[in-house]
Symmetry: C3
């Protein structure tokens, strides 16, 4: 009942928050109000973008649809990041990528496992998939860690650093395409509860084909606008509250940009579809690490700027521990409430540490 | 037979070593003799403290008893550490916590697996428990590693470092209480050979309820006295033998303080109750990392001092590799003699490295 | 058919390349040509050395044979390294050991899994062996990491660094001997597909006992000569192509020295004997890390030089990530083409990073 009301209110709220955000931006209501309005608006716009992508994917057929979902599932993050790059705010881009990865692995997965685990004693999912995900996440960590440690301990020029970044980015995209081919074609059945997820996503696709495409375009434009407004408030907002840009990027922006996925995963966990919840959380992290991040390196080149793939030590440490604990917990193909709590505690420890930087 | 004699001699030896230690301390027989006497005395007093705790726990009923055991199982270490904090010897506290964690994970677990493995080809235990233990140990490492790397690579004031330490300490205690609730209530049966252990511990509780409580109090007081005497000899003793305080704290104090657990775990392994041996070794490490260490941060505040949770790089490295190899070996729910040998070799490598600092 | 031709051509090519290398060396044809000739010659000589060792091992009976195989399987690397030590080129020795370890774990294992996986959907092998291998590799990483982090963060004199190195080296050899005893005697059947491998190796042993011993001696002498010639060209060669000695040691020398194993492992994977392929790749890494590297520390003492076991940060990082990803992928006792691709991508990322140092 409550859920139905929320669904009915979605479009009105989407429009109201968008208009409010636009008004606050153009009438200069001040950084805090502008930030709050943009944050609220992007919550709904990103939600619409996600649903529209799924709906278009639904009509595109299983394979092309899966590819669309996998490639544009983090379109909101990608658009926000592009606006940040345009402004040369590379550090915030990397912080928000870091935040999106650890947010998915710790907050989304943790909340799902905790909430689902309070209802069901043990929630199982495909153990093969968990193993592959672990190896892929490890690849992502390695691809961030290796160039960083080389650059930090050896004398490598800025030019060579960018060269390494470009080559590594290309390898990551190559790995990600291989993963799509592997999980959708050659080893589809092997990796189990994919069907589940799809069915679940499909259920939400209540729009016609034409409508879906229109909504996808509308949502993209809305996200793009709000992202620009949001980005412009960041420095004033963080200065006002004494927050580092790192914290704002890694926790505030990342949580706002991922809210739709958060709620979807928790809902699935409550229906005992932990496999689908894991796929959203881990799949989204993988997509950001192996696809969004490297694509942004090339995007920066298009803008005539050079954003390399060298993350800071604490960002790599944060991603590293998030991957370690998430894979340690999910590797056995099951979760319990306590494992969810552990993930949330690690997220909190990271949040506290980033806050004091 | 030999074992029976040892049991009969326990109380006489306890009293004799305690008196010797007291004499050597008050009559100032010199740091080396005082250290030796106190070390010997604490061996027996800590043993009595452990047995009395178990016995009280036995009468307190299964649940409260389990909680008592889990909370005061490392009372001796806790008391020693409190006296070190009172003297402001924070570095030795951290070294002895480090030593207790790696000692349990490498020396106790390694000796148990090696000795048990020489008698039985393969010793199995609950694989779920092993997995959960691995994730909890990982949390402990993360909780030490993340604040440390933030403090070491970013500009974080001493005041903020203490704030981070307090918050992280609170989170660790919160995680530990969750673990007790989880393993004793919601997922008791799920985590298997607990029963075994309990039965085994129970078997030693040959005292009446009243006697147990009296012995618990007596043992606590004895440990407290000896700890103070021991702490006072540490710097002279380490100076005399050219040992760093780090080495004395991490290896000498830690081994002495844990001797009772060492022998108990090895005995259980010899009876092919590897699950119980693992629970002692890993459970004790977890307790120190997730309960004793964070509690000591708050204890230091009570003394008007500020001991943060920032361990040195080599301490974190030592704990990190101990957790890695111990979880790698125990994750499959079985051990062999060779795996025990591996753990002991890692312990030896750490010992050699600490020795030369 | 193609394979048969190659076999027929093996001895002629061995002799021709050896003579060419000798000529180029003594007639001073220039570093590039000398390097190319020596590289080609050592490819065949190392191949002969490997086959002759297997053949002698075959006649020595299962146990002594297994020991011979395990101990002298990397004789070529050992001989090359000895000549490097004689010249005092410790950095290149360590680089080539690093290269041999990551080459086996990433390139050999990756190529085997990829090529084998294109033919078979999933290739399985003994899961116990995979777990033990993971723990042993972890020991190797720990034994390199711990002394290095102590030396890099604490004040440890050069003399003490050498002492630590000698003791740790002794422990590693002790662990390796324990492993041989464990896997060949006490837990032979437990570690499964050993038989397979042996059978497979045996199949190639087409020489008589006497012939095998003669060929073993001849191959050793040839490898020794070519190694010396190769070593002398390294600095000129790397200078000419603007390559760091690190890159030449870790990638060029290591690939050349391991070529025989590379092809053997891939062939086995194509016959769906992934267990044997894994044993070659992982076994060879283990042998280098736990046997060849520590033996070289003692060899350096024989030459009146002091090569310690302290590897550079990036070498340890490279070995660490190689072990992490290889164990993450092989721990479940099965591989697929995509997992092979992942390993090769990590190898490529390392190659690119080393190239730009």
């Amino acid at each position: 009942m409550r859920c139905l009301t929320l669904k009915k209110l979605f479009f009105p709220l989407l429009i109201v928050t968008f208009l409010l955000s636009a008004l606050s931006h153009y009438m200069k209501w001040g950084a805090v109000i502008e930030f709050a309005c943009a944050g609220l608006a992007i919550l709904f716009a990103a939600g619409l973008l996600g649903k529209a992508t799924e709906s278009v994917a639904h009509y595109a057929g299983q394979r092309l649809g899966g590819f669309l979902n996998a490639t544009f599932g983090n379109a909101a993050e990608l658009i926000i990041a592009i606006f940040l790059i345009k402004e040369g705010l590379f550090d915030i881009v990397k912080a928000s990528l870091t935040g999106a990865i650890i947010g998915n692995l710790l907050l989304v997965l943790g909340a799902s496992a905790l909430v689902g685990g309070l209802k069901y004693k043990e929630q199982k999912f495909n153990v093969h998939l968990a193993g592959q995900n672990a190896s892929l996440m490890l690849l992502a960590v390695i691809a961030l860690f290796i160039p960083a440690i080389f650059v930090k301990t050896e004398h490598i020029s800025e030019h060579d650093t960018m060269n390494i970044s470009i080559i590594v980015a290309a390898f990551l995209i190559f790995a990600y395409l291989g993963w799509l081919f592997y999980s959708m074609f050659t080893h589809k059945s092997f990796l189990g509860d994919h069907e589940d997820t799809k069915a679940d996503h499909g259920e939400n696709a209540a729009w016609s084909k034409r409508m879906s495409i229109i909504l996808l375009l509308v949502a993209t434009v809305m996200v793009a606008f709000i992202s620009e407004w949001l980005v412009h408030t960041l420095d004033t907002f963080s200065a006002r509250f004494g927050l580092s840009e790192l914290f704002v990027g890694a926790f505030v922006v990342a949580i706002v940009g991922n809210a739709a996925e958060h709620s979807a995963a928790v809902m699935l966990a409550l229906k005992n579809k932990m496999g689908a919840a894991v796929e959203i959380a881990v799949g989204s992290s993988l997509q950001i690490a192996l696809f969004v991040a490297p694509v942004l390196v090339f995007v920066s080149l298009l803008f005539g700027k050079e954003m390399n793939l060298i993350f800071t030590t604490i960002e790599i440490a944060a991603i590293g521990v998030a991957v370690l604990i998430a894979t340690s917990i999910s590797r056995d193909g099951s979760t319990t409430w306590f494992e969810g709590k552990l993930l949330l505690i690690v997220y909190a420890i990271l949040g506290v540490s980033f806050y004091f930087v």
